[in-house]
Structure formats: C-alpha cells, structure tokens
C-alpha cells in the first residue's frame, strides 16, 4: 500500500532545493513509527492544517475514482463467481488427496472468504497498474504532507506554529547532525533513567535516615520535623520529580548529615577524582599500547609470554591490596613516596594513579596485542608488504590506525569502571574524592548525597562515551557510510 517510497519524484525546478530535501527527509522519517509519532506530537498544528487539505483533496482523488470504477467492472464481469468455483474445486481436490471428510457447507464458507480476499487483491492490483500507466500517485496523508512541504507558501505560513517540527526536520537533514542529535537524546534518556533507578532504590530502602541521624532518643516530633525539612514526607512521585529536577538544575538541596550543599560538596570533590583518573588513564595508555604492540609483533616468543603473563597478573590484583603493598614498600620500607595524598604534592599522586591504572593498563595491553595481531593478518597488510614497504612503515601507517579502533572502545568502557573503582583507591590513600564521599555517606543513607554522587559520575561516563562515539563517526569510514544510509 505504501507508495511513498517508489513514487516517481517529480520536482519542478521552481521548488527551492532546501524544501525538496525537507520533504525527502520527512518521507524517510515517516517510515519509523517512533519518529512518526514524535513528529505528530511536536508538529500538531502543521498536521491539523495539512489534514484539512487532505480531506478536501481526497474527494476528487484519482485513486478512489478508479477503484470504484474497476470494482464495479469486475463484479459485472462475474469475476467473483469464477473465483468461488475455483476455490471450491481447490479444496475438494485437497481433501480427496488427504482423504478427509468433505463438509460442503464449511467448504463453501471458506471458499467465499478466500474468493473475497483474492477479489479485492485483484482489484487493487488493477488500480495500481492503471495508476502507474497514467503516471499518477495515490493520495495518502503522507504524500499530501510531502507535497505541501515543497510549497514555500505553506512552509512560511506554518513556520511559527510548527517551529519545533521544522527544527526536528532540519536536524535530520544532515546525517552527522542527526547522529549526534540521536546520541544526545539517548544519553539524556540514560541520565534520567539512572536518576530514576538510583532514587527508587534508595527510596524503597528499609532504613530510616531520620532515625539514623537523630539517634535512638529522638522523639516522634523531631523525626517528623526532620522528614518535613528534607521533604521526605512527600509522596514518591513528588520526591522523584524534585530529585530529577535537582540533577539538571544543580540544586539537590542539603545533605542529611552535616547540612552542607550537596552539589557544592560534589563540585569540590570531583576535580581530584577526575585528575586522578586522568593521570591513571594517560599512564595506562602510554605504557600499555607499546607493550601490546611489542607483544603482537613478537607473538609467541618468550618476551610475548612474559609480558602477557605480567598483564594477566595486573588484571588479577585487587586495587586495595596493591595499594597496601605499595605503601608498605615505597612509603614504609623505602620511604620514597608519601603514604597518603596531600593536595599540591605531586609525588603523592603517583602511587594512587599507578594503582588505579593497573587494571586498565593490563586490559589495554591485552586488547592492543589481540587487535594488532588480527590486523596484521589482514589482506591489505600483505599487499603493503608485497609493495615492498618496510615493516616499520607497515606497522605504523597501515596496522596501527586500524588496530586502534577497538582499543579506544575498551578505553571508553574501562573509564567508567575506573571512576567507580576510584572509591577503593581513594579510601586506601586517604584521598577525599567523590568515591570516598559516596562511601562515607552510604551508612546513613544520605539519599541526596549518594544520588548526586552516583548520577554525576554516570553523567561524566555517558558524556565521555558520547564523545568517543562521535569521534568514531568522524574517524571510522565504516560507521560513516553506515550512518548515511538509514
């Protein structure tokens, strides 16, 4: 039925180019149920106007007229009776073949139904054929919309009421912008989802923060006042709405214990955690990628085995134990580095960064090895070698770039784990970052503080992954070509 796709594109040169792309974009978007509904909702005024035009135009539509004519012609020609006889005959033959009992009445009913279906199909086919011959298009709502969108007058008239609708169409006109826009929307969805999930878990907790903070001696009135101050007496949906609103307006109120502004506290603590993670990340990348490449170029040698064995050990060491051993060795016995972190002392961040980066280092080294190994067995590397390029050039020019793509994915994925794992490292080295803040607050449980901490970390991770995805879209030609054909 959908003739929008294969409709012949007739555009007079007078139609501005932008408008024809606009109309095409609409046609494409209209094929996706979700986008269809989204457009209907935000572009309701435009839809109402074009629906009225549709109703008017439908009256003298060629399709309807043809259909009626052909339907009548076929009925008069006795096509229906022929079909019924044909279907009865078919069924009789089938039943004799399978040696089933023949029930005349039922057989007739079935035959009539099938004949009716086939009859309508035949009529439809004939109409389509006729339409195609005449070069006319079947009038549907979508086709009306498309032709209206090519009219400059219509667009200008409906531009103000349908501003949102046109903005959406413009966003979808360019594949890159469309891709970025869609990723942004899904990130937004994830952030709201995380806030909802974390808040709900803390809400259904059997613990009572008021009783925990005020102590066992608190009277009922004291607890009621506490709950009123922090809005804990309000219904679930109100609290949830306030929490989600708070996340986006950076106002989560005061924490239960200590009565400090949660967002301020988080803003004070997040930089040190990010700095720590960043140093660990750089350290891991700088050390692990060369190791992985050396391992891959000398695969199955003694060096390769040793390096990968060390990497596997790195994956298996718990952060906190490694931290303790480092403190024991480098601070207590050798006294090279301070055991705890002091802001401003660059020496004191070395150990935490190494400890936090070890797991990532091991993962990156293993990933680099396997992806480089995979790439250097590709055909294009053999081609490069056949061209007479030297090994170094092959490795850096042809192999490394392609091997890098899965490595970046791993880095993006592990970054989240690192921000989470920072809680443990921060506790070992006594760093007052966001991780140890959440851990300290969870005993109460201090709902706004925990939620704020976790959600802002999740937002950071989502944004980093968003950035990596967008980077990919520009770097990786495979994704680029996939993006353009949607």
């Amino acid at each position: 039925m959908n003739t929008v796709n294969n409709a012949p594109q007739i555009h007079s040169s007078s139609v501005p180019n932008v408008l024809s792309t606009l109309s095409q974009t609409f046609g494409k978007m209209n094929q996706y149920p979700f986008l269809k509904w989204a457009m209907l909702i935000i572009g309701l005024p435009v839809y109402v106007i074009s629906f009225i035009i549709y109703l008017i135009k439908r009256k003298d539509d060629a399709y309807q007229r043809l259909w009626r004519e052909l339907h009548q012609a076929c009925t008069e020609a006795g096509l229906k009776e022929k079909l019924i006889t044909k279907h009865i005959e078919q069924q009789r033959r089938k039943q004799t073949f399978f040696q089933q009992k023949i029930d005349e009445l039922k057989m007739k009913q079935v035959a009539e139904k099938r004949a009716e279906d086939e009859f309508l199909q035949v009529v439809e086919d004939k109409v389509q054929e006729e339409l195609a011959q005449r070069g006319e298009d079947q009038l549907t709502f979508a086709s009306i919309m498309r032709s209206l969108l090519e009219h400059p007058v219509f667009v200008v008239l409906t531009f103000i009421p349908g501003l949102l609708f046109y903005t959406l169409l413009f966003l979808y006109m360019n594949p890159y912008i469309k891709y970025i826009f869609e990723r942004l929307v899904s990130t937004l969805f994830v952030i709201v989802g995380v806030a909802f999930f974390v808040f709900t878990i803390l809400y259904i907790s059997p613990f009572d923060p008021a009783a925990n903070i005020l102590g066992v001696t608190a009277t009922k009135e004291q607890i009621a006042t506490f709950n009123q101050i922090y809005g804990l007496d309000q219904p679930y949906w109100v609290q949830l709405w306030q929490a989600i609103q708070g996340i986006f307006t950076f106002d989560l109120g005061a924490s239960f214990a200590g009565n400090e502004n949660v967002v301020d506290a988080i803003a004070r603590k997040i930089p040190i955690t990010l700095l720590l993670t960043f140093i660990a990340l750089i350290l891991a990348i700088v050390i692990a990628i060369p190791i992985g490449i050396i391992s891959a170029t000398r695969s199955n040698t003694f060096l390769d085995y040793t390096l990968m064995f060390v990497a596997l050990i790195g994956l298996s060491i718990p952060n906190f134990w490694q931290g303790l051993i480092f403190i024991l060795t480098f601070s207590i016995e050798l006294q090279w580095l301070p055991a705890t972190f002091t802001p401003g002392n660059l020496l004191s961040i070395i150990m935490p960064a190494v400890v936090l980066g070890t797991g990532l280092m091991a993962s990156i080294a293993r990933m680099t090895r396997s992806s480089t190994l995979e790439v250097i067995h590709e055909d294009y590397i053999i081609t490069a070698r056949a061209k007479g390029l030297n090994e170094r050039r092959i490795l850096w020019r042809h192999a490394f770039g392609n091997a890098l793509i899965p490595i970046i994915t791993v880095i993006g994925l592990m970054f989240g784990g690192m921000l989470g794992g920072a809680a443990v490292t921060e506790k070992v080295f006594n760093i007052s970052g966001i991780g140890s803040y959440i851990v300290d607050k969870q005993f109460i449980p201090d709902i706004p503080a925990i939620m704020g901490g976790v959600v802002y970390i999740a937002i950071t991770i989502s944004l980093v992954n968003l950035l990596i995805d967008i980077l990919y879209a520009f770097i990786d030609p495979r994704i680029r070509s996939k993006m353009k054909q949607y």
Binding site: V194, F197, S316, W321, L324, I332, G417, G435
Partner: protein
C-alpha cells in the same frame, strides 16, 4: 625423500612439541618463585636470614636447576633427533618430587614429560591426585595446633583412603588401551562418589568413564574427548583449574578437618603472633588463626563469586536471547533499559544497593549480580543475532518448530561457548569486587572470615605485622589469576576460529 622429511621434522620439532614450551614456562615461573623466596628470605636491613623462606629458596633453587637441565636436554634431543629420548623423560620421575615443596609448575610439567602419549584421562588423573595430595597436606598442618576438630581424624582417614583409591585409578588409566573394560563402570561410579570431597577432577573422570560405557554413538565420545584434549593440553589452563578445584575441595573438606573456632573465637593469649607451625600464617589482633581464617574465607569468596556470576548469566542470558531473537521493538526497549544499568559503574551500583538494604552476604550477591546483567545480555544478544541467521535455524523454522523450541533447542546451546568463557573470566572480577567491598566495610559482615575482612584487619597493622595483609591478598590474586588462566584456556579451546 625420507631424509628431507626428517630434516623438516627436526626443523619444526622445537615449535611443534608442547613439552619444550612447557619446560620453558615451568622453568621461568620456578626461577621467579625462587627469586621471590630469596628476597623474602633475607632481611636486608639487618642482613639476617629468615629460616623458613630461606630453606624454601634453597629447595626451589634445587628444582629450578634440575628444571633448567631438563629444558636443556629436551632442546638438545629435539634438535638432534626431533623427538625426546626416553632417558630424558626419565628425569620427569625425579622432577615429580618437586610436588613436596609445592612447586606445582614443575610438577605439572613432569606429568607431561613422563608419558609420551598423553591421553586427557591420564592428565586429569594426575591433576586429581595432585589436588588430593595438597588437600591432605594442607589439612595435616592442623596436627601442629593445640587441638583439632572432632572429625579431624575421620576426615583425614577418608581423604587418605580416597588418595590410595585414586592411585589405583592411575594405574588402571595408564594400562587403559581405549577398549571397553569391565572395571570402567564401577570405577567411574566410585570416582563420582569420591568427588563429593570437592575434587571435581574425579567427577569429570568418572563421568567420562560412564559416558564411554553407556554411550551408543562413538561420535559423542569423540566430541567430548576432543574438547577435553584441547583443555588438557593447555598447561596454564589446567594449572588454573587445579588451583580453583584445590580451593574448592579444601573449603569442602574444611568442614571436617578444620576447626571453625580457630578462625572466629577470640584468643587473647595469642594475639598478633608471628607465623609458626601452630599458626602457619600468624594470628591477628584477636588471636584468631589467620591460616584457618583464609581457608574458611575461601568458601565465601567462591560462593559469592560463583553466585554473582551465575545469576546475571541466567538473567542477562535470557534477556539477551529474547532481545536478539525477537529483534525490532523488543530489542530496542530492552537494550535501552539495560543501557541505564550499564551507565553506572559496577562498584558504585553495588554501593547504592548496599546503602539501601544493608551490608550482608545476600545483598552483596544481588548487588554484584545486578551490575553485570547488561554485559551478559549484550554478549548473548550478539551471539543470538548471529546464530538466528544460520541455516539450521531456518530449517527448524521451516519444519514448523515453535519459537520457544527454536530458542532453547537451537539457539541457546549454540551460543553458550562465549558466555561460558565470559563467565569464567568475570568470576575473578566478582571475587575482587567482593573483597574490595568487604575492605570498605560494605560487603560481608565483619565477623565472618572473608579475605577482604582479613585484609581490612591486616591493613591496620601494615607497619608492624605486614604478613596479616600480605597473605590474604596472595590468596585473592592466586584465585583470580586461576580463573583468568582457565578463562583464557577455555576461550582457546572453544573458539572455532582457532581450529
């Protein structure tokens, strides 16, 4: 012609013979351990010698020297003849003695060296014996304690009896020529019974014997045999499996051979004792025996690790299968919902759940499980997407199979391999997460002996009694490393690309 073939054989003999690579591996690890014991055996500040570690150093050094000699012999044999001579193989019997000092690497190498044609049954039997031997050895350390558990004698006697039985099995397996023999049925059943001590090598061996007896189709036996052979020939994977099963068996046998009171009851007469025969790893600030605590902690680590892998395996697997099979809108909705879970780092999600429901073992298992559902779902979805386009699925659909039967009979069994590999690799992560959370005071209740809890106590005495923090950490690393080795080995064995 034949001389050409011979020279080719010699040329590639070094690379083609697994013994050579294994000899080197065992040698390197052995030397590394020797050096570690040397460093631990000398107190550098005073120049004094610590007798225990120093004697361990000497013992390891001896076996490392022997190992290097064997490795040299193997290399020479392979270069000269292309095969290992039987006189070199005889050295394997001598190297078997390294089991006495606990060098499992050279011991495992010796197993392989002794026999020229190694069937997986033979290797499994050897590892079964080694597991049993070490369980008995570690349990018998309790003899030095002031008192032992009531069931200790009975337990030890049973373990020894099983050990003798397993020796008999070894003889039978060596003599086995692949023909169907009468003893296989009874021995197989007995082996399965002895695996109740946690020695799952015995279970695998027994099941395989029963399979040989009962299976009508030789191809089923051959299929299992091929997979076994792959895993058994991978020495690091077997060593990983060995250590996991050793810990598993030890934590089951500890019900009889260890005294729980030693691990949890305060004994203020013996606080913070240095390691001795009665307290092999010393005592903590409440006078509790750290050695017993570590043994009992293994239970928790294994249970939590396995459960918090199994639950997301099932839940994530089902969600992923549904999402991949039905596709379109179902897929979209499920995956977007799982994206939300995926955006929160595992440890933080666990902290949130524990903050809401309190620190306990059950909460911990649930908290760790929820966080890893999305990864399993994604893995399963990818597999299912690939497999549901295969011809055999189409043919099942054409034959009129229902959706459920297609999912459970065709798709799920064929997409299990990557899931199993992933599960093995993530158990290690779960063990680390458990102890990390316990260390933060958010995991297992502090009075229960668990590796993270022991470490937490130890971290307070880092300066004066560092061994309290070192030994439980080594236990964690060894277990996690074993799971990672096993996972890597399984991946190599199950990956069809490497065939």
């Amino acid at each position: 012609m034949s001389t050409h073939k011979d020279s080719l054989l010699k040329k590639f003999a070094l690379k083609a013979t697994s013994e050579y690579a294994q000899a080197n591996f065992a040698l390197v690890v052995s030397i590394a351990l020797t050096l570690i014991f040397l460093l631990a055996g000398i107190d550098f500040s005073t120049g004094a010698i610590k007798p225990v570690f120093f004697s361990l150093f000497i013992a390891y050094a001896v076996f490392s020297i022997i190992q290097s000699f064997i490795a040299y012999q193997v290399k020479r044999d392979l270069k000269r003849d292309g095969v290992i001579r039987s006189s070199t193989r005889m050295w394997g019997y001598f190297q078997l003695l390294s089991v006495l000092v606990g060098n499992i690497f050279t011991t495992a190498f010796a197993f392989g060296l002794i026999k020229k044609k190694k069937s997986p049954q033979y290797l499994f039997t050897m590892f079964m014996l080694m597991t049993q031997f070490y369980v008995i050895a570690v349990s018998s350390l309790n003899l030095f304690k002031p008192y032992v558990a009531n069931t200790f004698l009975m337990g030890m006697f049973l373990l020894l009896a099983i050990f003798v039985f397993q020796l008999v099995v070894l003889l039978l397996v060596i003599k086995d020529n692949g023909q169907l023999s009468k003893w296989k049925l009874s021995v197989g059943i007995l082996l399965i019974l002895t695996s109740l001590t946690g020695n799952l090598f015995a279970l695998a061996l027994g099941l395989f014997m029963l399979l040989e007896v009962f299976s009508k189709t030789p191809s089923t036996v051959a299929k299992w045999y091929a997979m076994w052979e792959k895993i058994a020939s991978n020495m690091t994977a077997m060593l990983g499996l060995f250590f996991i099963l050793f810990i598993f068996s030890l934590s089951i046998c500890s019900y009889w051979t260890f005294d729980y009171g030693m691990a949890v009851d305060n004994n203020y007469g013996a606080t913070l004792q240095m390691p001795s025969l009665a307290y092999p790893l010393g005592t903590d600030n409440f006078g509790r025996d750290v050695f017993s605590r570590i043994v009992f902690g293994a239970r928790i680590s294994l249970i939590v690790g396995v459960l918090s892998t199994f639950i997301p395996f099932v839940v994530g697997g089902i969600l992923g299968a549904i999402s991949g099979y039905y596709g379109k809108r179902t897929d979209n909705i499920l995956m977007r919902l799982l994206d939300v879970l995926y955006a929160i780092p595992g440890i933080l999600l666990a902290i949130v759940i524990i903050a809401a429901f309190g620190a306990s073992t059950t909460t911990l298992v649930i908290a760790l499980s929820v966080g890893s559902i999305p990864t399993y779902a994604r893995t399963m979805r990818a597999n299912v997407l690939m497999i549901s386009n295969m011809e055999y699925v189409m043919s099942a659909r054409a034959l009129g199979a229902s959706n459920l039967s297609i999912i459970f009979k065709q798709i799920v069994p064929n997409s299990m391999a990557p899931m199993i590999v992933k599960a093995t690799l993530t158990i290690g992560g779960a063990v680390i997460a458990t102890s990390s959370l316990s260390y933060l005071g958010l995991g297992i209740e502090p009075h229960i002996p668990e590796w993270g809890n022991i470490l937490k106590v130890g971290s307070a005495y880092l300066e004066s009694h560092s061994y309290l923090a070192i030994y439980p950490g080594i236990a964690i690393i060894a277990l996690v490393l074993s799971f990672n080795f096993l996972g890597d080995g399984l991946r190599d064995a199950l990956d069809p690309k490497l065939d």
